[in-house]
Symmetry: C2
Subunit: 293 residues, 2 copies
């Protein structure tokens, strides 16, 4: 497991590739918009023109692209499954559908390939610093073989079971975030409209039972009126839709998630698809103005 | 500020009174059901029979009772306001209505009394260990005078502004908790129905952006099928209703809080009013069974 074909050289992919290079792996890279990937040539990465090129003569193929339909495209249409040599390990690190991960694993096995789903949490900073949490689904054997690569890219690495379990774990993580986001955004609106200093308030309560990562990391950005993306609204909507879809497949009730997804869709319609998730506050504030008038 | 009349000797009150005694204050106590308070006689607390008795010959009156209607009863009907001597500081530490706190402060000022609203977070353990967060509203002068008492009972003490601001801060805290509860309960249901080990999952993600106090402290109790109350469902419903009421007065939108309150009311109807708030999981699991069948 020395050579890697890496598909998807956006902000996340670039950080991950650099950490693979630092750990001594040989990396070949592919990006749909080739120009965006060329910056990695300075790190000794060969940037190739096609999916067929990037999956040839490598031990492992890693992909981190945008949406499940992009994953389907590269695996089934552009030909990862058709062109990878038998024995290659295929790792999709896109946050995607558990059902699609199951289907890829099945198709891979039929071709003597081994597939893992391994979405991450920790954002672009985690990708850059090699501190991602990597949530893995698939068989034990390829997981063990791929572990040195995961360790180059992440800090907290966990195999949760067979194909799709990595995706399911990631979607569960996003469900908890949905609750934190709605709770802290409504909290902040209540605090500011009550005439209470929000920074003093957070300092007083943050170590108690209302404490959360969102409270400590995102709410201060809202107070500073900074809505730039750590995590894009449009990507969060994608994740929540995937979680709702999988929840429906399993027949489970997630009314909080359904509500939060609806609110974020309304936020995107207001022009905030490319804002950070903390912009939810703006939707609630907007609605409150409307109800007062 | 040496002598305290303390009204409400339940689990919270007992812990707080013991810490006042340890710090050297003289305490006189009153409880509606007198017998429950008698245990404090061993700590040198005189237990008296009436509100009139407990507010007489003291510098400070502290109350922590059940519901806003109980606060109204002791202040306006049982006669805290009528019987306290001019100059007495009146501190209500019940989680109650900001509007009621404002009304009490106004009536107190008209009688040359000084009122503070000072609800707490940290639960019975915080009360016992003197580690409560105390969220205060009222004037600066009585706050400064009462500070040694607050320091005997709590760790994080903050004055947020005039009358009612302590109550508003506490309700805002509960709004953030509502979001955490719905998010983590739905997350856990998704995890378990996906066939993922929930303890392994929490260990992997808890320091990331899904992290929260609820995730680390309440979800492990659900995994252990422990629904005993740290914080009662019935009290959380009370707090959420107060927050919604105040939110409506201010004209603000809190759809997540409204949903979570509805779900907890349904949980109480299933017989869980006296369970801990982590029992929300049971309602969602129940609904999911129903939707599968």
């Amino acid at each position: 497991m020395k050579t890697v074909g890496f598909i998807g050289l956006g902000v996340m992919g670039q950080g991950m590739v650099r950490n693979l290079r630092k750990a001594g792996f040989t990396v070949k890279g592919y990006n749909r918009t080739k120009e965006k990937g060329l910056v990695l040539e300075a790190d000794g990465v060969e940037i190739v023109d096609t999916i067929q090129d990037v999956v040839t003569d490598v031990d492992v193929v890693i992909s981190i692209v945008g949406y499940p339909q992009d994953v389907e495209q590269i695996y089934f249409e552009d030909g990862i499954l058709d062109h990878a040599a038998p024995g290659t390990i295929l790792i999709d690190m896109t946050t995607s559908s558990p059902a699609l991960a199951e289907r890829i694993a099945q198709e891979a096995a039929a071709r003597d390939l081994q597939a893992l789903d391994a979405p991450v949490t920790g954002g672009d900073l985690g990708a850059k610093n090699g501190t991602l949490a990597i949530l893995v689904g698939g068989e034990e054997a390829p997981f063990v073989q791929a572990k040195p690569l995961f360790e180059a890219m992440g800090k907290s690495i966990s195999l949760f079971g067979g194909p799709g379990k990595g995706q399911s774990a990631k979607l569960a993580n996003q469900i908890a975030i949905a609750g934190s986001m709605i709770g802290t955004a409504e909290m902040l609106l209540f605090v500011t409209r009550s005439g209470i200093d929000p920074t003093q308030f957070i300092e007083t309560i943050k170590s108690g039972s209302a404490g959360s990562w969102s409270l400590e990391n995102l709410i201060p950005r809202v107070i500073a009126e900074n809505y730039s993306p750590g995590f894009f609204v449009k990507h969060f909507i994608k994740d929540m839709r995937l979680a709702l879809e999988r929840g429906a497949e399993m027949g489970i009730a997630t009314p909080g998630l359904a509500l939060t997804k609806d609110l974020y869709e309304q936020l995107a319609e207001l022009g905030h698809a490319d804002s950070g998730t903390q912009a939810l506050y703006l939707l609630l504030a907007e609605r409150s103005r409307a109800s007062v008038e």
